[in-house]
């Protein structure tokens, strides 16, 4: 082998080895930095007006960058189940100050802020403040009222204000007819399963974001579970009236011809009766974890 060739081969061996070393070292540095930094969240400039002035004519571009950072921040915290969303509001504040017409920042941002911990920051009041700011800057956009009604309905359980938000939004010429129906229905019934299903279904149908779609679908699944369990409990009551005892298994309802077949949850797992005789999710169902998470966050 000529010296030139041997050098080439040596390089071909050394380079992958070197990069393998870099890879390994980087993993160690990551561990070290995580331990030493603990919380990497830092936002040096918190004044939207100052950042806007410093952005010169590039404020909309800066807003896009800050919005991306807000999404990454929320996504990263969400993925790590970290309930500390301290910087979410400052990031959204900066984003919407830099570009007051960035509708997506108000809509998703208010959801991120309002959802209870650990799914969100658990600050519905900040979500409302963000939406109010969005309404002021974009008075023609009726969807903010839908989001506002959503926060009042689901997070704050303030049905009067939720109804008022839907009613206010329904006055917009572009708004959809169901806004008026929701306003009346919530005013009359407060929280109801059918209203909740409708609202989450609306989110599911209208969003293009896969994560929001998944979240809406998960809520819809849990609402269906709630509906199913209510129906199964009613059938168990009927069974008790006939036989004088609570059914121990759901199968007994089928045997008593109260059900045509074994009912299953949206993931295909059959329901069971709990120790208190009430219908519950199967322990193997993946929905059980989501249900517990939702119950804990309430």
């Amino acid at each position: 082998m000529s010296p030139a060739n041997s050098k080439k081969w040596l390089l071909l061996v050394l380079l992958p080895l070197g990069f393998a070393g870099v890879w390994e070292l980087q993993q160690r540095i990551d561990i070290q930095r995580r331990a030493f930094e603990q919380e990497r969240d830092e936002l040096v400039l918190r004044s939207g007006k100052l950042v806007r002035a410093m952005s010169l004519e590039y404020a909309p571009l800066m807003a896009d960058i800050y919005w991306t950072r807000a999404v990454q921040y929320y996504g990263d915290k969400h993925a790590r189940h970290d309930p500390n969303f301290e910087l979410l509001w400052p990031l959204l504040d900066l984003t919407t100050t830099l570009d007051p017409n960035l509708l997506v920042a108000y809509r998703f941002g208010s959801t991120f802020l309002s959802e209870p911990s650990p799914r969100g920051a658990g600050h519905p009041e900040l979500g409302i403040a963000l939406l109010m700011r969005g309404m002021q800057a974009n008075p023609d956009y009726w969807r903010f009222y839908e989001d506002l009604g959503f926060i009042y309905y689901f997070e704050l359980k303030d049905y009067q204000k939720a109804s008022a938000a839907f009613a206010e939004g329904s006055k917009h010429p572009d708004s959809q007819i169901w806004m008026k129906i929701m306003a009346a229905k919530i005013a009359a019934e407060g929280e109801s399963l059918s209203t909740s299903v409708f609202l989450w279904n609306e989110v599911y149908q209208t969003t293009k974001d896969p994560q929001v779609k998944d979240n809406a679908m998960s809520h819809l699944h849990l609402l269906r579970v709630e509906q199913d369990c209510q129906q199964l409990d009613a059938l168990a009551d009927e069974f008790q009236k006939r036989t004088g005892r609570r059914p121990a298994r759901v199968g007994e309802l089928v045997q008593a011809k109260l059900l045509p077949r074994l009912p299953v949850d949206p993931m295909g797992f059959p329901y069971v009766f709990g120790p208190d005789g009430k219908a519950v999710l199967n322990i193997d169902s993946p929905l059980l974890e989501q249900q517990l998470l939702q119950q804990n966050s309430k």
Partner: protein, 258 residues
């Protein structure tokens, strides 16, 4: 190695002759101005501003020197035809490259040390005394020097096969990309494409991670930096620089200088 050392020493002398170290005057003025002004425009964060501004200035000035001088190291010698005279002597091409690299790193080290002295002087002026926690600044400055070493290696690599303008573009682009590797790794929070996610994750480990050397915030707040990180960052910068210099030497040895 002695030959590479001679090239390095001459590269340092050339940088001094080219008035590269004049930037120290600018740094000194900046520090003096900041030290005088900061008390009047801020409350409670005077020393923090001096530390942050000082470290940032050391980093930016160092980067400008590393990139702009680094990309011309080989090109200038070829353009002036001094390289031919040099390579006619018993100096191997890789020794020439290593010497050029060492010379610029030496220039940067002297420059950084002088700026560090200026930073501590400004800090002393503002606080009237130095604390033990201020010593963390030295680690941050050392990390900046490690970062600059890596940038010089990259600039040298690109200067071996392209024009200075393109080399500046490549080096700057790689430096900026190297600052965002953390974001590449946390891309999972928004990406729906697992292939893209895996690709970005892999790339994030192969690109030079300049964020490794960023401890400015911790140093400004006087937070302790673990010794293991100092060691790991030193090995990282050394290993990555060796890889880049190996590639640079391979490219330069095949280059037709006729």
């Amino acid at each position: 190695m002695r030959r590479a050392g001679a090239v390095a020493l001459n590269t340092f002398r050339e940088a001094v002759r080219d008035r590269v170290l004049y930037n120290l005057v600018f740094f000194a003025l900046l520090m003096m101005l900041a030290a005088i002004l900061v008390g009047g425009i801020s409350i409670g964060i005077e020393d923090l501003v001096i530390k942050s501004l000082g470290l940032s200035a050391i980093s930016v000035i160092g980067l400008l020197i590393a990139v702009f001088i680094g990309v011309g190291l080989v090109y200038k010698e070829m353009d002036k035809r001094t390289l031919y005279a040099l390579l006619a002597k018993p100096v191997r091409r890789w020794e020439f490259l290593l010497g050029k690299f060492g010379g610029l790193v030496l220039t940067l080290a002297v420059n950084t040390m002088a700026m560090a002295a200026g930073l501590f002087a400004a800090l002393l002026y503002v606080k009237h005394h130095l604390e033990r926690t201020d010593a963390v600044l030295l680690i941050a400055i050392y990390f900046i020097l490690l970062k600059l070493t890596l940038v010089v290696a990259l600039a040298l690599l690109f200067s071996c096969y392209s024009t200075p303008l393109l080399a500046i573009l490549y080096t700057s682009a790689l430096y900026i990309a190297g600052l965002f590797v953390e974001e590449m790794r946390t891309f999972h929070s928004t990406a729906a494409n697992p292939l893209l996610e895996a690709l970005l994750r892999g790339l994030s480990y192969l690109l030079p991670n300049f964020e490794n050397f960023n401890v400015m915030a911790a140093a400004a707040h006087g937070r302790e930096i673990p010794g293991a990180l100092v060691l790991q960052n030193t090995v990282y910068a050394a290993l990555y620089s060796v890889i880049v210099l190996l590639v640079a030497a391979a490219v330069f040895s095949r280059r037709n200088l006729k």
